[in-house]
């Protein structure tokens, strides 16, 4: 209520800013990197399945492509976990956890699904990883007072992602 009044005043007259300045990387947090990494994991699983359905699997081209898909899947599953850990460790504060008590469970689930996505080609687990990171993203943007929207990614596998509604 009072904040809204001040917000209105700010819009009309432009209140001066006082910077609680941080050095990089402070303030530069965005779950989109983790979201895209998780999406990449699903894409790699799709490519792995597609390749596995072709040929007899003994030629060098097959092994080369399969090796690359698996390596990228590994890398991005780990990257998704790392990005969430950074936001979790550096940005999320006790106040956020009080307001969003489900955060602990969500982060733990991301770690588990991220590991499963590295270990296996379980597409269902990878899709679940995308969705649980979406839930994390919704909370992340909510802590900044920014609304979110859901839209299908404009590239394969075109799963639904959460984006800030800026």
């Amino acid at each position: 209520m009072i904040h809204n009044i001040f917000e209105s005043i700010d819009k009309k007259v432009g209140v001066e800013r006082a910077s609680a300045h941080c050095d990089v990387p402070c303030g530069i947090y965005d779950p989109i990197v983790a979201q895209i990494s998780a999406l990449t994991v699903v894409r790699m699983i799709d490519l792995i399945e597609e390749l596995a359905g072709k040929g007899d699997g003994h030629d060098t081209a097959y092994h080369n492509s399969m090796g690359r898909y698996v390596a990228v899947k590994e890398e991005h599953a780990e990257n998704a976990k790392a990005e969430i850990r950074i936001i979790w460790g550096d940005y999320i504060k006790a106040q956020h956890k009080e307001n969003y008590p489900q955060l602990d469970g969500i982060v733990h689930k991301i770690m588990q699904l991220g590991s499963k996505s590295r270990q296996t080609t379980d597409r269902e687990a990878a899709v679940e990883l995308v969705e649980i990171i979406n839930e994390f993203a919704e909370i992340f943007w909510a802590t900044k007072g920014i609304n979110t929207k859901r839209a299908n990614a404009p590239y394969a596998p075109a799963l639904e992602l959460v984006y800030p509604n800026l």
Binding site: F6, V15, R17, A18, S19, A20, C22, K93
Partner: protein, 99 residues
């Protein structure tokens, strides 16, 4: 002198966060000296108008050593102590951005 300011940046999180408003008053300094723990607004030649917490006060010069609560905070550890002349005011009212 009274001043309304809007907070940007996260160096005083979680207490003061991006989008919060503060009301800073300079007059109390005449009657009530600043104490460690107070939140102050000041001018800095490189970073402009800033808001930080007073960590300590030089007993001789009265200069203020200000810090943020975030490990990456840019504060007196980078730009040194703050002269009183650069003070804009002491925060007397904090209006939090409801999240």
């Amino acid at each position: 002198m009274i001043k309304v300011l809007k907070v940007t940046g996260d160096s005083l999180a979680p207490d003061y966060q991006e989008g919060d408003f503060v009301v800073a008053l300079k007059f109390p300094f005449l009657f009530n000296s600043i104490a460690p723990g107070d939140i102050v607004v000041f001018r800095n030649a490189d970073y402009g108008t800033m808001i930080k917490q007073v960590e300590s006060i030089d007993p001789v010069s009265g200069d203020l050593h200000v810090i943020g609560t975030h490990p990456y905070s840019v504060d007196s550890r980078q730009f040194g102590a703050l002269a009183r002349v650069d003070l804009v005011g002491k925060v007397i009212w904090h209006i939090k951005n409801p999240r």
